[in-house]
Every structure is written in structure tokens, then in C-alpha cells.
């Protein structure tokens, strides 16, 4: 079957890699026209990926399992890249700053590439284990990943900030196209606010689900704890604005540290620690 979801996902991987390359080219070589192309390619990739996700959902029904494509590591990686691209496109549309794409689309393409090319990641559609059979699965994964995606964008913005801040004296092509530190700072703040809301909702829906499944809304399992650690990091970033002397640079660092914590919550816990969450074990 050529027109299957995995075929579309493979295609998406290459499209996103292409889009990331285009955004980088636009940024580094300042070719304006490439920017518009990059946006179109990204949108095209998003559409194909959306169809792919829908198709995978349908395929799971055809196999007789019938569940949303959010049930294992492979599917979550696909979803992560999908939602990151979506959040980025919204920000691009609102700020008209294509240079941000050079710092965010790579996350999406890396996620797809990792899902597609790592032989250890099971990409077959599997039946849902009893613990995952819940209406809260979709709400929980959706909210968490909206948070993760926003934080990925915030991290990209944080890197831009540090880059700009570091070389602010030396004006040059690369630096000039990056928006002002002030604008970046505000963007980081806004993105973190958005992500924080979704992460909070993700933690809460997770707690409700845990209460339904295991009888405790909070059991300090490593994944829960790491999401709380992440939450603390971003709460710090939100409050840092009220402490004198905590300027944009520290918040930029926090946006990067926060994303490292997100990544650890997402992958590290599965691979390095043991717990109740079962995504990474397949």
C-alpha cells in the first residue's frame, strides 16, 4: 500500500527537513523569496502530515483496534512535530518573523527523523493496553504536547536572543535580521505563558486520569515529578520578571533549561528511569 500513513509520514520527514533548510538559507543568505517558499513548504508538510495522522487513525479502526494515534512513542513523536509546526506557523503569521522558523522547524524535522529512522522505535499500529484505554488519553496528550511545542518554540527564541545579545555589537547580516532583543524577550514571555497554561492543563488532566486509573491523582512517579520540575522552571521564568536584575538574558537561559527539562520529561524518563508511564518501553 503506497498511500498509507507511514508513507505520508516519511514524506513529511523530508518536507520538514527541506523547510528547515529553506528557513536557514533565508536567514543566512538573506534571500527574501526563499522565505515565502519556506512557509509554503511548511504548510504543505503540515497538510500532508495531518492527512497522515487522520489516515493512521482510520487504519487503526481497520485493524480492529480503533484508537487515536497517540498511543506509543512513534505516534507521540509524529504528534510532537505536528503540533510544533502548527504553533510555529501561528507565531509566524502573527509576528511576520520568518527568521524564527530557522530556530524552530529543525525541532520538528528532528522529531520526525528520529521517529522514522530509529530502528528501535516500533512504528506499527498496536492495540491499546488496558491502562491507556481512557477518554483522558487524548485530552492529556494534546494538552501536554501543546505545552511541549510552545516550549520548543520558546527555546528557539531563547537561542536567538542569546545569539543576538552576544553579537549585538557586531552588526552583520546574520544578526540584523534577528528581531530586537526587546521584541524577542516579549515573544519568549508570551510563548512561555501559552506553554505554561497547556502544561498546567496537561498535568491536571494527567492527575484526573491517574485518579481514574490508579486511584491516586499524584503518586510521584518519575514522569509526573519531571513534569512538575518543568513546571517549576517555567514558573521561575514567569516570576523572574518581578525580580530586579533578572533581565532578558536569564529568561532566555531559563527557556533553554526549561526545554531541556521538557525533553527529559519526554524521553529521559522513559529511557533512563522507570515508572508507570509506558510510552518509551516499546
Amino acid at each position: 500500500m503506497t498511500f498509507s500513513s507511514s508513507y505520508l509520514f516519511g514524506l513529511t520527514t523530508f518536507i520538514y527537513m527541506g523547510a528547515a533548510a529553506l528557513y536557514l538559507i533565508r536567514w543566512i543568505f538573506r534571500v527574501r523569496k526563499v522565505g515565502l517558499l519556506a512557509t509554503f513548504v511548511t504548510i504543505g508538510g503540515l497538510i500532508i502530515q495531518t492527512v497522515g495522522i487522520g489516515l493512521r487513525w482510520i487504519e487503526s479502526y481497520q485493524l480492529g483496534y480503533g484508537h487515536a494515534p497517540l498511543s506509543n512513542l512513534y505516534e507521540s513523536l509524529v504528534f510532537f512535530s505536528w503540533i510544533t509546526v502548527l504553533v510555529y506557523l501561528i507565531i509566524e503569521w502573527q509576528t511576520k518573523q520568518r527568521v524564527i522558523g530557522a530556530f524552530t522547524t529543525p525541532f520538528a524535522s528532528l522529531s520526525m527523523a528520529y521517529a522514522s529512522f530509529n530502528p528501535n522505535i516500533e512504528d506499527k499500529i498496536q492495540p491499546l493496553i488496558p491502562a491507556l484505554k481512557s477518554n483522558w488519553l487524548i485530552a492529556h496528550v494534546l494538552t501536554c504536547f501543546l505545552g511541549y511545542a510552545s516550549f520548543a518554540v520558546a527555546c528557539g527564541l531563547g537561542i536567538m536572543y542569546l545569539f543576538k545579545n552576544r553579537f549585538s555589537e557586531a552588526s552583520g547580516a546574520l544578526i540584523d535580521v534577528i528581531p530586537d532583543c526587546k521584541i524577542l524577550d516579549e515573544l519568549i514571555h508570551q510563548t512561555i505563558i501559552f506553554g505554561f497554561l497547556w502544561l498546567s492543563l496537561g498535568i491536571i488532566t494527567g492527575a484526573i486520569w491517574a485518579n481514574d486509573a490508579w486511584g491516586t491523582y499524584w503518586s510521584w512517579d518519575p514522569k509526573e515529578t519531571w513534569s512538575l520540575i518543568t513546571w517549576f522552571v517555567y514558573a521561575t521564568a514567569l516570576h523572574a520578571r518581578f525580580v530586579r536584575g533578572w533581565t532578558g538574558r536569564r529568561i532566555a537561559y531559563l527557556s533553554i533549561i526549561g526545554f531541556v527539562s521538557v525533553m527529559f520529561t519526554y524521553f529521559g524518563v522513559n529511557f533512563l528511569l522507570s515508572g508507570l508511564h509506558s510510552y518509551g518501553s516499546q
Binding site: 483496534y65 498496536q126 492495540p127 493496553i129 488496558p130 491502562a131 484505554k133 481512557s134 483522558w136 505563558i193 505554561f196 497554561l197 498546567s200 492543563l201 491536571i204 492527575a207 484526573i208 486520569w209 485518579n211 481514574d212 486509573a213 490508579w214 486511584g215 491516586t216 491523582y217 499524584w218 510521584w220 518519575p222 515529578t225 519531571w226 512538575l228 520540575i229 517549576f232 522552571v233 514558573a235 521561575t236 516570576h239 523572574a240 518581578f242 525580580v243 533578572w246 527539562s261 524518563v269 528511569l273 522507570s274
Partner: protein, 451 residues
């Protein structure tokens, strides 16, 4: 009251405990120290830590309670300090917020209106007649919303449209929600319990064992497991664990529910969750004594079966599903004088055994799996408080960031022999929206004033 408050506020301890600097410090500290409990396995026996980490690290683990990090004295102290910080910070800011909230935004003067972040003014030589004044005001109200009015402000009429003043309380709701969640957790800790039971199919239980203390907790009703069922997908992965439960009050059946993972049974504030299961073999034997008195008995693991007429007890020691293609079992037999022995049975072959003076015949007639369902049982009256806190957290957060406090003023009066109209506005969020609305009013006023 007010005076004592301000003297409080100026002591440095008060200032320290109310500072955001301390909050940031605590948030970072909590983030870092929380890592410990994810790296060191939690809740194992002390012996485990000694073997795994060696005597030196073990001492640290023991002193700092790192085997149960999140309930250790220092972690709870951090959370306590965090709450104190939050409470004092809130108390300290309350008077300022009240002042902001109560501020009379109609008491502004001409100069202030002209210094607002958004403003536009018109001057004309001609007098405004009643009609055009009315239409100016109507245009303002149409976009700005409900207005208050005051006459004689610097010799003119002042209109104020204010929105979202209450949003100042959003941050209090947000911070308060954290405390609500803590309270919910404490209520659960002190007024709730957690326990578990292994309930064989067909049996009834009226108490559970507390997981922490090991004490018996009576339920005041009983629960029977009618059936346990496990089903599999084609590929062999488990699909569903299902227990069919009935609640009994005395002998009366009062409630029934079939539970699966993610869909527990709730009865009188107590929740029963599907947690695990175990399959144990159960065999049926036919025994008869020398008087040809015959009995059929079910014997399962972990349980004694009695033959009352003969004062004999039976137990299952071992079970083999297939010996020469037939089930076999080793059973244990004892009488009431403490004499015991054991014997192997193979289905289809009768055996004899002697107990004291008597000779018995026994044969294995049937063997099957019997299920025990593993239930988690919990009572937590704090859960609803926690959910309340979570709701307040999200709502508070949305209010803090997305509900603007916005004020728009319209002043119509005379200055230096000319008619002057001033439109000004201020908002703490969503400046774009205010700008748009200002533009709309501006255009309307332009046409009203014939500019």
C-alpha cells in the same frame, strides 16, 4: 488596622518572606531537589539502599529520607516555606490591590487625560448642539460599552467606560489555588485511606487492609467479586481486565458494577479500582470413607477446605496441568489431632489414604483456574478540593493574562473659548484591541464633528 499593617510591612523579616526573590529561590530549589527522588528508587526497604549504594551514601539517604524524598522533613519544609511565602506575599500586596480596585477613575483631570497612552483630541470654534453631543456620546458608548458619567470635571462632562477591573483578583485566585490544592492534599492525607485487597471470585469481603499501617479498616458494607475476566488481543497482548462486583448490605444486594482499568466503582465515598489479578488453580476431588459416605470438595491454593463430617482438612500444595496428558495435584491432608500427610493425585486414577484408623478413597475429578481480582481501595475526601484548586488555577491564570483592565474616557467641554473633545484610553493588556476600538470611535467622532 491600616497603621499596624504598614508597620508590619516594614520589618525586614516580613519583607523577606513576602519577596518574589524568595519565591524564585524556592521554585529553583524545588526544581533541583525534586530530581533526587526520580533518580533514587523510592519506597524500597532500607536493606536495598545499603546494598545498592554502599554504606556512605546509605547514611546520607537515611538521614535525608531520600528513600521517600517527597515526604521527607526537608521537602515538606520547603513546601511549607513556599506556602508561607505565598500567603505573606498575598497579604502584603492586598492593600495595594484594594486601593487600585477602589480607585475612582472618574476623578481625573484634563491634563491627565491628555497624558494617557492612547489619546486623541478635537478642537472646534463652533458650539456643539444637543444633537451632535448626543451622537458623540452614543458613538463612544457603542464601542466602549457601559459608561459612568460626571459633570463639572474641569468645566466639562466626563464619561468613563471601564472593563475588567476585577481582573486584579486573578493573580490572587491563581496563587490561592496552589494553597487550595495543598489543603486538598492534606485533607486526603488525614481523612482518607488507601488499601488493597485480593478477592477470589465468588467471595465477599467486608474490610480492607491499610497499605501504610497494615491495619484493618472495616467498610460497613461488603463487596463480592462475582466474576473476573481477562481478555486478549490476537497478538496476545492483554485487552481488558474486568471484575464484576456487587455491594451487599447485610444480605441485600444494593449496588452492582462491572469495573475495568480506568473505570472504577464508587460507593459511599470509597472507590474500588481494578489494579491486578492472580490466577490460582482449583481442583475438585471426590472422597469417600469406609462407610461409603461420599463427598465432592473444592480445594484451592492458599486456603484450607474442610470435610466437617470427618474432621479432615485439605490443602493444595502443587498443581501440574499436564502429567502424561492429565492434570495432577499434590494435596495435603490433616485431621483435628494434628496428624498430616500428603498425596499425589492424577485425574482418572483413584487412590487410597489412611488417616488414623480410617481408610479413605480419593480421586481428582476436575481442575480449573480460579481468579483473584486485585483491587485498590481508596477514600479521599480531599480530591474534590484538589479539583477545585486546579479549576481555580486555570481560570486565575487565564484572567491574569487575558482579561485586561481597560479604561476609556470621553471628555466634552470648553477650553479657552473653544469646544474641546478628548478621547483617551488605557489598558494593561491587549493594547492592540484598545487601539482598534479607539480608531473606531475616532472615525465616528470625526464624522460627528464634521472633521
Amino acid at each position: 488596622m491600616k497603621i499596624s499593617f504598614s508597620t508590619y510591612q516594614d520589618t525586614s523579616i516580613w519583607r523577606f518572606f513576602s519577596s518574589v526573590r524568595l519565591a524564585v529561590f524556592l521554585l529553583i530549589t524545588l526544581a533541583i531537589t525534586s530530581i533526587v527522588g526520580t533518580v533514587i528508587p523510592q519506597g524500597e526497604s532500607l536493606q536495598f539502599y545499603l546494598e545498592r549504594f554502599g554504606p556512605n551514601l546509605f547514611r546520607t539517604i537515611k538521614v535525608l529520607h531520600l528513600y521517600d524524598t517527597y515526604h521527607s522533613w526537608w521537602y515538606l519544609a520547603l513546601l511549607g516555606l513556599f506556602s508561607i511565602n505565598l500567603i505573606i506575599c498575598t497579604l502584603r500586596r492586598l492593600p495595594f490591590t484594594l486601593k487600585l480596585f477602589r480607585r475612582d477613575n472618574l476623578s481625573v483631570d484634563f491634563e491627565r487625560l491628555l497624558k494617557m497612552p492612547f489619546k486623541k483630541d478635537w478642537e472646534t470654534k463652533k458650539e456643539l448642539d444637543n444633537d451632535s453631543t448626543r451622537s458623540i456620546i452614543a458613538s463612544f458608548k457603542k464601542v466602549a460599552g457601559k459608561t459612568e458619567e460626571r459633570d463639572g470635571v474641569d468645566g466639562g462632562r466626563l464619561f468613563l467606560a471601564e472593563r475588567g477591573k476585577w481582573s486584579y483578583w486573578g493573580v490572587y485566585a491563581l496563587h490561592g489555588s496552589i494553597l487550595i490544592i495543598f489543603i486538598g492534599a492534606l485533607v486526603g492525607l488525614f481523612l482518607g485511606f488507601k488499601g488493597s485487597i485480593m478477592l477470589p471470585e465468588g467471595e465477599t469481603i467486608d474490610h480492607i487492609i491499610n497499605r501504610q499501617t497494615g491495619k484493618r479498616i472495616p467498610l460497613n458494607f461488603s463487596v463480592r467479586c462475582n466474576r473476573f475476566n481477562i481478555s486478549f488481543y490476537d497478538n496476545g497482548a492483554p485487552k481488558e481486565y474486568r471484575s464484576d462486583l456487587t455491594v451487599l448490605n447485610g444480605d441485600k444486594e444494593v449496588f452492582h458494577k462491572s469495573i475495568v482499568v480506568n473505570d472504577p466503582m464508587k460507593y459511599r465515598g470509597i472507590t474500588f479500582y481494578q489494579a491486578s489479578y492472580r490466577a490460582i488453580p482449583e481442583i475438585t476431588v471426590k472422597v469417600s470413607n469406609s462407610d461409603k459416605l461420599q463427598r465432592s470438595l473444592s480445594i484451592s491454593a492458599f486456603q484450607k477446605t474442610l470435610w466437617p463430617e470427618e474432621q479432615l482438612s485439605f490443602g493444595l500444595i502443587q498443581y501440574q496441568p499436564s502429567v502424561h496428558g492429565r492434570p495432577a495435584a499434590q494435596i495435603w491432608i490433616a485431621d483435628n489431632e494434628g496428624r498430616a500427610g500428603n498425596i499425589w493425585l492424577l485425574q482418572g486414577r483413584e487412590r487410597e489414604f489412611k488417616q488414623g484408623e480410617d481408610l479413605y478413597k480419593i480421586s481428582l475429578t476436575n481442575a480449573k483456574q480460579r481468579y483473584l481480582t486485585g483491587l485498590q481501595v481508596k477514600k479521599d475526601p480531599g480530591v474534590l478540593i484538589v479539583w477545585l484548586g486546579c479549576t481555580v488555577l486555570i481560570v486565575g491564570f487565564a484572567v491574569v493574562f487575558w482579561v485586561p483592565h481597560r479604561r476609556m474616557w470621553l471628555w466634552i467641554g470648553h477650553r479657552k473659548g473653544r469646544t474641546v473633545v478628548i478621547l483617551s484610553g488605557q489598558t494593561n493588556k491587549n493594547k492592540l484591541r484598545l487601539e482598534k476600538d479607539m480608531k473606531k470611535i475616532e472615525e465616528a467622532l470625526n464624522s460627528n464633528l464634521g472633521v
